[in-house]
Amino acid sequence: MQRQHIITISGKPGSGKSSTADKVAELLGYTRHSSGDIVRQILAKESLSLAEYNEQARSDHALDDAVDGQLRQLRTAKEVVIDSRLGFYWIPESFKVYLDLDIEVATARIYNDAAQNSSRSGTGEGSTSLAVVTEQVRTRVEGERSRFRAMYHIDPYDLVHFDLIIDTSRHSPQTVALTLYDTYRRWLNAEVWKQERSAIPSGYSFKNQY
């Protein structure tokens, strides 16, 4: 079986899609693409915050179309890693990975991240209280769910779409990346593939556990 050398990484907000994709690309020597970067470029150009973007995207599909257009073009690319909620949808022949995690951990990560990471805080993703962030994450997940359902008739958080599911709640992006890398190499050589859920052993991936 001739596999496409494309990895798409989807999953929950805060699951580490971006950092994991960076590290997988490094291990494989692949090129990195990200729908987050595409969105952030649009936000910067239009001077919108992420909340405003999500609000506007409900009724105005031009924003999503712009992101989709750039993603679809990657279908003919070779040796790329793409982190995108809808990567699995636009490139179904890719190695489709879903990064899962507990909502509490998601919130804590985004909250902590916002304090340090300027690419998020510049777009209004950083906020003052944990409760506010929790509400933001929930609103974002639900907003995306209903938007994608309306636009594409799919649920990006339905695990059925994926080749590999990794629970990232207790592991660093580097550990998730290595598991992804290792499974991808097996997928490349496999005649048939059945969805896998990775069983990373207990560990001390993080210096400070959430």
């Binding site: 291990l27 660093s172 580097q174 290595l178 190499r185 052993p201 001390y204």
Partner: protein, 189 residues
């Protein structure tokens, strides 16, 4: 019956040998390192470590010597710290630890580690950070290919381990403490 054997696997530059030395001192156990074993072989042949790795890519006899050493450990040893990619496979009675590290940080470590005698004597020293990264990646690919071909196993399949530690933001002493703590839990189970 669980033995007092800890095996450390992991990516190049993850700190296996440093952590091994710390644990050996803490527990008062002796240690075995397949990396040092192979570096010594490279030294005996008068080639650099990467040349040596390239030479043995198709030569199973070197692997067989290492395998034999590991199998002997599994059969006869009761207390030991092992630093080896394949110990999780050949020494299944050990407490199996995987030390993880990103390529970026690993490259920085190995690059600045050039002063260490075990590396310096076999040309395992990098002239730039980029070169370090490329050579580490080549080493990972080489391990993957060789072990898949010879044993049908992946040395970087962390699901085969008892404990995985990301060493990126931790000192060797902190990592050693986590291994030690994990080992005690494992023994008591």
């Amino acid at each position: 019956m669980k033995k007092d054997i800890i095996s450390l696997g992991g990516l190049p530059g993850s700190g296996k040998s440093t952590v091994k030395a710390l644990l050996a001192e803490e527990f008062g156990w002796s240690s075995f390192s397949t990396g040092d074993f192979m570096r010594q072989m490279a030294l005996d042949r008068g080639v650099s470590f990467d040349e040596f790795n390239a030479q043995i890519a198709n030569d199973k006899s070197i692997d067989e010597q290492i395998d034999a050493a590991l199998i002997r450990i599994e059969q006869t040893e009761n207390t030991l710290i092992i630093d080896s990619h394949l110990a999780f496979h050949f020494v299944p009675s050990s407490f199996k630890v995987f030390l993880n590290i990103s390529l970026d940080v690993s490259a920085k470590r190995i690059f600045s580690d050039g002063e260490k005698e075990t590396r310096k004597s076999v040309g395992d020293v990098m002239s730039s950070l980029e070169e370090a990264k490329a050579r580490i990646k080549a080493r990972i690919d080489n391990h993957n290919d060789r072990y898949m071909r010879f044993y049908s196993i992946s040395p970087y399949d962390i699901t085969k381990y008892d404990l995985v530690i990301d060493t990126e933001n931790q000192t060797p002493a902190e990592v050693a403490a986590l291994v030690s703590q994990g080992f005690n839990q494992w023994k008591s189970l």
